[in-house]
């Protein structure tokens, strides 16, 4: 800001074309026209002072640092080995180095700009009027009457049929806009039976085998007591997300746990759901559909890691803690003539999270 020789006398009409007026005078006049009063405006450091020169050096240094860091970023981006390998190579520093150089470049730029604006520009306090309630009641009335007049001109009140017919005409148009979206998206959930059946439902009278994740069918000898394995329906694409409700946990219980489990089974009428000491429960939590599969082989609890529902395997997988309210459905299993596990039938309860019309 250039030094100023004369301030305009308060209250006087300011002449913008006054040759005496400085640029600051004009600026302040402009501000006044916008109801801004600059009440305090002074440089923080005397021009040419030691402090000012030091600040300029700081800002210059920051800007140069930005350039340096940005150049380093480019150099690293181009020449640093970046292709990932599992060994302890230099490539693991690629992303951190990019981050540091980019970060330094941007931070130095930011702080350079900020120091410039904060320290080298004059300090200022300005006061602006808010102009609230400046529009008078009169103005409001004029606008209101204008709008009402326009409504009268349209004559909706005198010729009500116009409005009604317009609404009647527009309503279907709105529906036309909505129809393709709703109609295209909507899908009957009950049609495919996806909610009630899983891949274990016998197909063409043939019982479905329990297979492992690599497709091999499973024999009782494949799991030791105290072991568990995730099994899938032995159908085409059984081990895929197409059968997201089918994954099942097959558990080989220890003798004493198996006895308890059988007793519990008998109580709910699942007399023949187990085969030997083997028991199979749906892996899909009845609460929110996560795979409940943290099997504790000593306590026989099954924990779901999403919301900590706990199921007691030896008591028909009854929920004993957490937000789940329904036990895990049990899959009735047996062993076929070739010695592989098969599902006797589909699950007899609904698998997966609950819903309104669950039978």
């Amino acid at each position: 800001m250039s030094a100023q020789t004369q301030t305009s006398a308060p209250g006087e009409q300011f002449d913008v074309n006054d040759p005496e007026a400085t640029r600051f005078d004009i600026l302040r006049e402009g501000a006044r026209r916008d109801d801004i009063e600059i009440v305090h405006y002074e440089p923080q450091y005397a021009p040419g002072s030691k402090a000012e020169r030091r600040l300029v050096r700081v800002v210059v240094g920051l800007f140069l640092l930005t350039g340096l860091a940005a150049t380093a970023f480019l150099a690293i981006y181009i020449w640093w080995p970046w292709e990932y390998s599992l060994s302890q190579g230099g490539d693991r520093f690629y992303t951190p180095l990019l981050g540091v150089t980019l970060g330094v470049a941007l931070l130095a730029l930011g702080f350079g700009i900020l120091t410039w604006g904060k320290k080298l520009l004059p300090k200022e306090v300005s006061i602006q009027d808010r102009h609230e309630g400046v529009y008078s009641e009169e103005d409001r009335r004029i606008t209101g009457e204008t709008m009402l007049y326009m409504a009268d001109e349209l004559g909706v009140r005198r010729r009500p049929l116009l409005g009604i017919s317009l609404l009647a005409g527009l309503a279907p148009v709105a529906a036309v806009a909505a129809a393709p979206i709703v109609g295209g998206l909507i899908k009957d959930p009950h049609k495919s039976g996806q909610l009630t059946t899983t891949g274990f439902a016998p197909a063409d009278g043939e019982l479905i085998r329990l297979i492992r994740e690599d497709g091999r069918p499973l024999r009782p000898a494949d799991i030791s007591a105290g072991g568990q394995i995730t099994v899938f329906p032995g159908v085409s694409h059984g081990v895929s997300n197409q059968y997201a409700n089918s994954p099942t946990l097959l558990i080989h219980l220890r003798e004493e746990d198996a006895i308890k489990s059988r007793e519990a089974n008998d109580q709910v009428g699942h007399n023949d759901y187990m085969w030997g000491n083997y028991v199979a429960f749906s892996k899909i939590c009845t609460h929110a559909g996560c795979p409940a599969s943290l099997y504790e082989q000593q306590t026989n609890r099954l924990l779901c890691p999403c919301h900590q529902s706990q199921f007691l395997i030896t008591d028909n997988a009854k929920p004993i803690f957490g937000p789940a309210s329904r036990r895990l459905p049990q899959l009735p299993i047996t062993v076929d003539s070739e010695g592989f596990f098969v599902a006797k039938s589909d699950f007899t309860e609904i698998v997966g999270p609950d819903f309104w019309e669950r039978p």
Binding site: S87, I211, R216, A221, G227, V239, L294, Q298
Partner: protein, 278 residues
């Protein structure tokens, strides 16, 4: 097998196509079978040699290493596991039939001997040397047989991708995707896999310590175990995180802490400076 192939949904086939460098599944399975039979023969042989002795007399004849192991046992373990490892009620279970694998895991990871009775024995610096651990294991093995961890490189010829697939289906639910472990019900927990050695991982799968389910050789073949061990050691235990500091790999919870403690705090300080009067 052909009908099974049809039922596989193509997953295995694709997995196999990916592992061109690794030996074919068939050959590996053969190798696994051979190793299994060898292990069984050894264990069975040991059993037939010593089992009658167990029944016949109070102090069965022990091999040299096992005798050393018994001496160690009688000093450090007998309080809880009782004379001849038959267990003491409410203190320690019987060790007859748990096998050398279990001893290997519990002693080499420092879980045994326990410092005090608690819900779950935690990892500590081991009390016994490798040699002593082997002697103890040999003793328990000769008492009642059980699974044994094979010698040699336990992740030989492993396929990382298959190991990862098996890890995610069998292990990650408790030990977490990144191997950091996790909570189980009522104060129990699945430990972090970061400090686990290949023998310890193998032994844990074989013996199912504490609440961990058993993954016997019938369920996960030695080759599959090798795949899992390779995945844990080369991928999860590898500290080479390509994206910088890994925040403990605790997932979104530490990321959320970081955005407030680092991001918001740094920017609030910046804002304080920007709007400051000085």
């Amino acid at each position: 097998m052909t009908s099974d192939n049809d039922r596989r949904g193509g997953l295995l086939a694709r997995l196999r196509r990916g592992r061109s460098a690794a030996p074919s599944r068939g050959r590996r399975r053969l190798g696994a079978a051979v190793r299994l039979i060898a292990a069984l023969t050894l264990a069975g042989g040991a059993y037939t040699l010593f089992a009658p002795g167990v029944q016949a007399q109070e102090n069965p004849p022990l091999t040299g290493a096992a005798a050393e192991g018994k001496a160690l046992f009688d000093v450090s373990c007998v309080t809880c596991h009782g004379r001849n490892a038959q267990g003491v009620e409410d203190r320690g279970p019987s060790l007859i039939g748990v096998g050398a694998a279990s001893v290997d895991f519990q002693v080499s990871s420092g879980r045994m001997p326990m410092a005090r009775q608690e819900a779950q024995a935690g990892r500590k610096p081991p009390v016994f040397t490798d040699e002593q651990t082997r002697q103890l294991a040999q003793y328990v093995q000769e008492l009642g047989g059980g699974p044994v961890v094979p010698e040699g490189d336990l992740s030989r010829g492993a396929d990382l991708a298959v190991g990862g697939e098996l890890y995610r289906i069998n292990c990650s639910q408790c030990h977490a995707f990144s191997g950091g472990g996790g909570a189980l019900s009522s104060g129990k927990y699945a430990p972090s896999l970061m400090p686990a050695s290949d023998r310890q991982i193998y032994a844990a799968m074989l013996s199912g310590p504490q609440n961990m389910p058993v993954f016997g050789d019938n369920q996960l073949s030695p080759q599959e175990k090798a795949d899992i061990i390779a995945y844990i050691q080369q991928s999860l235990q590898n500290t080479q995180d390509p994206g910088g500091f890994n925040l403990g790999r605790y997932g979104p919870s530490t990321e959320g802490v970081a955005i407030f403690l680092v991001g918001i705090v740094a920017l609030v300080f910046a804002a304080l400076w920007i709007a400051g009067k000085s």
